[in-house]
Each structure stands twice: as C-alpha cells, then as structure tokens.
Symmetry: C2
C-alpha cells in the first residue's frame, strides 16, 4: 500500500489559492504537479540554497518559515525577507543562473521544489500559470520597494510597527490569529532585517508594550491596538481617546 499522496498534490493543498496554482483548472494543476519535486524537510538552521549556488529551482514554502539573506563583498549580511507558506523562494536567481542570496529554514520547513526549466516550459502552455508566476515576481518587487521606504524613512518604532503589522496580515491570510502569534525569528534577525541594533529592537518592543499597543512575552506577541501600531501616533498626547477630525 502506498502512502497517501494527497499532501503532495496542489489540488489538495490548502495553499493553492495563494500559491502558484492560483486560477489553474484541475487538469492544469495535475500538469504542474507533474513537475514538482517533493523535498525532504529542512531543519532549523539548514540552508535550502546558498548565494552563488547554481540556480535550478524555485521553491514554494508549504510549512514553516524561511529567511533569505544577501551578503556583500565586505561580508555584511542583510536579511531580505521572511517567507511564509504559499510564498516563493529563489526568484532572484534566474537572471544570472545563480542564486543571489541564501535561504535558511527558521524552523522545520517543508517545501515544494519546482525545477525552473520545466516550469518555464509549462508556463508557455498554461497562461494562468505564467501570469501567476509573473504576478508573484511583481509582488516581490513591490514588497521590496515598500521595504526600501521603511528602511530609508522611518524611525525604529515605525519599523517595528510596520514589521508586526505585516506579520499579522500574513498570519491572518493563513487562517491564524492576526492579533496573537509567535515570532519565529530571533531579535537579532529582526534587527538585521530592519536595520536596527538588537538592543534597539528590545527597547522599542518594551516601549510599545509600556504604551499598551502590544504585549510581548519572549517570542509571543499580542497586538492590543492595531491602529496604534500603524496609525503611528501622530498624537503623542494620549494613547486612548481617539480624535476623529471632521
């Protein structure tokens, strides 16, 4: 008796509506299934690919969380993103046939490996697959541009607020609580990603907590005042009593 394959198929994957197969018909999905390789789970700290490795596949996260980094000539390292289930890894690799960054599992992670040559061929036949692939690349471009704004223009407090809100939205999209979740990454990772020293991350989280906007207990975060996080307290006066102008 074979082990059930259901989990391996896009058709039975709960993430298909936010992943590559979006908008594919059932037979099309079967074709896509045909080229996807099951990959053994990665453990915390293991790398899925490394900067400079030959580019062969992109990966869809099925479970767990992944971080990606780039390193410059001086060895400085920057975390460029945290990837949730349904999101694609390795899209920066195809322009020079070499991965432009490293992907590392933040916890036990399960992935779908999609050989790019086959995906490219299939995308010629399936317009919706092609468009979805491009949409996801486009999405990544747009996301990173927004991140550039955050890095260049905002204070430590705004950076953390923005970070927590984006995490919240992604947890929500996956069906988890939008207001209470666990930070998979360390404070060091958060600081690296946001361009802050670890100490500043700690202090800022404490400050947000004291103001009653969030509650932090180790890696466990509760968002108490979503508007306070995003609204960026233009009114430094008082946290409660919200004034609506007009």
């Amino acid at each position: 008796m074979n082990a059930p394959m259901s989990i391996q198929s896009c058709g039975n994957c709960g993430l298909s509506s936010m992943c590559l197969p979006l908008a594919l018909t059932q037979p099309e999905m079967t074709q896509l299934d045909g080229i996807i390789k099951k990959s053994a789970p990665y453990r915390r700290g293991e790398s899925i690919f490394r900067q400079g490795d030959a580019f062969t596949s992109i990966y869809a996260v099925r479970a767990g969380m992944v971080k990606t980094t780039v390193v410059n000539a001086l060895g400085e390292e920057q975390i460029t993103g945290f990837y949730f289930p349904g999101e694609l890894l390795g899209l920066n690799g195809l322009h020079e046939n070499v991965y432009a960054g490293t992907a590392i599992a933040l916890e036990t992670v399960s992935l779908c490996e999609i050989p790019f040559v086959k995906l490219d061929e299939l995308s010629a036949l399936l317009p919706e697959l092609r468009r979805q692939l491009m949409r996801q690349m486009s999405q990544e471009i747009a996301d990173e541009q927004n991140m550039m704004l955050v890095l260049a223009k905002t204070s430590a407090e705004e950076k953390l607020g923005n970070f927590l809100i984006r995490l919240s939205l992604r947890f929500k999209r996956l069906g988890f609580s939008a207001t209470q979740f666990r930070l998979t990454m360390s404070r060091v990772d958060i600081g690296n990603y946001l361009g802050l020293a670890v100490e500043t991350v700690s202090r800022t989280l404490t400050k947000l907590q004291q103001r009653g906007v969030i509650k932090v207990a180790g890696k466990e975060v509760t968002i108490l005042d979503m508007d306070g996080l995003s609204g960026l307290n233009r009114n430094v006066d008082e946290p409660a009593k919200l004034v609506v102008v007009g």
Copy 2:
C-alpha cells in the same frame, strides 16, 4: 517618402542587447516590434504613470533617465530607483493590475511602450522573450535586495560611494565614461533614494572630494579613485596631518 522607421525598431536599436529583445532572432524581433508602441517624448518632471493607475503597459527606456517612487499611507515618498536606457519600468504593476509606484522623467525621455497583455501572449510563443522578461524581473528583485543591504547596514559615506559606483557601471555599460559623468538627479533625490538628508549628501560629497576620491562640480562628478569609493577606506590612518591620540 516615409520618415525612416529605423529608430523605432528593436533590430536597429543599439540597446537591444541589454533590453527585452536580447537573444531574439531577427524574425522574433519583428514580432516584438509589432506590439511596441512608440510613445511621445516626456519632458523633465512629467510622469509616465502614477501609483494607483490601471496597469496596462511596461516601458523600456530608450533615452534619458527616469526615477520611480512609492508613497505610503502617510504620504512619505521614497525613490525606489533610477532607470537608464535599456531598463524596464512598471514591472511592479502587474500583481494587482495597478502601478505600485510613480515614474517620472528626470530629463527629456523617450520610451518604448509595451502593452502587457500582448507581451504576455507573445511570451508564450517566444521562449527567449519570456525568459528575458523574467530575467529582468529577477534582476530587479536582486538589485532591490542589495539596496536593502545598503539602506540598512551602511554609513552615509558608504551609501554615496555605492551609489556613485553603480551609476558608473551603468554609464560604462552604455558606452559612456565610467569615471566622469553628470548626475541627472538633484541632491534631494539622491538623499531621498539613499535615506539621507540633503545636507548629509552635500557634506559627504564634500568630504569624499577633500579626500581626493572624487571631484564634484555641481552635477558633474569625476571618480578619481574607484577603489577608494568601494574599498571603503579600511585604512583610516591619515589623509593629511591627522592627530592620533595615544
């Protein structure tokens, strides 16, 4: 007698080897030409598209320079890139069928407009076109990730050095001098792009000049010591008579 069309065709465009038609055969290029719309030149300050506009086309820069920006909910604006001839604009627009940013001509600019629906259809037929489009998107992702590192991890001096070096490489690729060129954008734009105040841009350029690494005269820049710009003076010893305490 018709006006010569040569300039309008990819086959006769000097940029084809670094633009979309890269690796296309002559007949394929003709097909691509068939969907490209000539666009009237844009003047300094004019927008090619605006954040929120319906996404219809991507644009290849043929002449002149373009900047792109994103604005967040609070009205903060971030320049996300400067685009040279041969580079593509609007790639961030297709994931939500709306441009995720604004593109503005920094000088008189001439563009090739490429309706995306047609490009998408054609990309199903021409594998090299499809791959080149994806490569350019991938390139943009990788570039922006490197920019995130610059924004998050480096000092004002390093930011300017990195900025000038990247400009230099792109001028070189276009056949211009790599060591002497004109900054098309204002100091305000440079500061915005790099996450620095205008005053810091000014001061840092002056400092780099005093150190003999560059020469600046208004918008005219000469790079005197390329290694000094990138090498990041690990040797802080002394430029002139510097007093070392101890």
